[in-house]
Amino acid sequence: MAINRDSNVYTVVFATVMVVIVGGFLAFISMSLKPQQKANITNEKMQNILQAIGIDETNGIARDDAGKVFNDYVKRRITINYKGEILSDKSADEAIDPQDKLDAFNIDLRKEYSMYVKPIMSQYKGDDAKIDAEMAASPNIHFPVFVCENNGKKYYVVSASGKGLWDDIWGYIGLSEDAITVSGSVFDHKGETPGLGSKIAEEWFQVQFKGKTIEEGGAYAPIKVLKPGNELNSHQVDGISGATFTGVGVDEMLTRNLAVYYNFFSTNKGL
């Protein structure tokens, strides 16, 4: 019996069967690969945090190893709000529960930046006092602090998120025991220009931050990204030629986020 391939019934039946088969197959693939994909994302975040401490032990650590040794270095995971109030405080013994949205490790800064921080900043542009008040009032803006230990010394890894020229940029900054001196940093981006803005993810740019301080004469001093070739003081780093706006983005992101952390650490010394 020959099938009429041009009949409406055949066409509809063919389409239905095909969609069901393909849908089931793709659902199966997605389900079976999901654990591995999630592990990659978690391990990458751990790798970034460990690298940002800026110690030789974790420098250049492989992504898969990061998950294994994370708790050897990161002793406490603290979440604070804009006002510096502690919302969550977990020790390394408490496993990271993916359901616990307040666990510092689960804070999605990129999402919070685009959903809550950016709207406030663009709505009240120029009115710093109003921005300040709105940020403090928002229950959705969090700041993670990772308290790390190595050879008896404490380090604090803090996090920042902002916007580069094209898309999101973010980073982890390690602070030494005094919570003022930068011990290391890691930056990454979603879509900065390859070979120009994308260089913020390269080591030579990141090592510049090591040793810089965020305090001058007892007050907050933001780290500035300058045009390359200037004399640099202890709060300034060289930007990237041809990537001025990515540099401006890094500058803005660090200034805004480190201010919160500076205030927090000045009232919580020796955490």
Binding site: V22, S30, Q37, R63, G195
Partner: protein
């Protein structure tokens, strides 16, 4: 295996071999048919991206051609393009998911371009022009041939772009190799930033076509 096929024609008959070799040169999908140019411009900043992208496209072409060819007598004519799209889209999703699970770094760098394999003209072109009218085995060979032809151009473009743009060559599994010695930089050599941007691919592809046509005069259109 070979005995069964002997009745019709050997697996690698002259005709079948040409299905693989022709797309590498005389009917190269990128340089001669000018298909799939978009990704050739965009994912050629580093060698490893280009290599993984070529493998991904070859995979999609291989299975896409095979599946469509196997279904060619069942597909209703009026929705054949949609059927092709569904097959290609599912294969691309599989590739994307596998990359995310096993080569996460590369998948991050390729980002949207993996998804854009769906719109790569080579794939729909081969499905429509070849797989719909041929048996599975020649279709598979055609898929491999066109995938390799695409990959060949991508890898050659990436080689020059990465070498001249960053002074390095990156291979999957091996990592970044510095090719230009430090002494050259101290002597005043600088990487050419233009080669990191998409326009430089056009220049390299154009030189490629020039060399190719010089060596194959029959390709020159009157």
């Amino acid at each position: 295996m070979s005995e069964e096929v002997k009745k019709s024609e050997p697996l690698f008959s002259k005709k079948n071999k040409k299905l693989i070799t022709d797309p590498l040169n005389k009917i190269n999908p990128v340089t001669i048919q000018v298909l799939g140019i978009c990704s050739a411009l965009a994912v050629t900043v580093q060698m490893d991206n280009a290599i993984v992208m070529s493998i991904a496209v070859t995979f999609v072409l291989f299975f896409g051609n095979m599946l469509i060819s196997m279904m060619r007598n069942l597909i209703p004519g009026r929705i054949r393009i949609i059927v092709q799209l569904v097959v290609v889209a599912s294969l691309v999703i599989v590739v994307d998911q596998v990359l995310k699970a096993f080569v996460y770094d590369v998948s991050k760098q390729l980002s949207v371009f993996v998804g854009l394999i769906i719109t790569n003209c080579i794939i729909m072109g081969r499905l429509e022009a070849f797989a719909l009218g041929n048996k599975p085995w020649p279709s598979i060979l055609d898929g491999i041939g066109n995938g390799l032809g695409y990959g060949l151009v991508l890898v050659i473009v990436a080689f020059f772009k990465e070498l001249l743009g960053s002074g390095t060559l990156t291979f999957p599994g091996i990592g970044k190799l510095t090719i230009i010695p430090e002494a050259m930089y101290t002597a005043g050599y600088m990487d050419n930033g233009l080669f990191l941007l998409p326009p430089s691919s056009l220049i390299i592809v154009a030189i490629y076509i020039w060399v190719q046509k010089f060596r194959n005069p029959e390709l020159i259109e009157a």
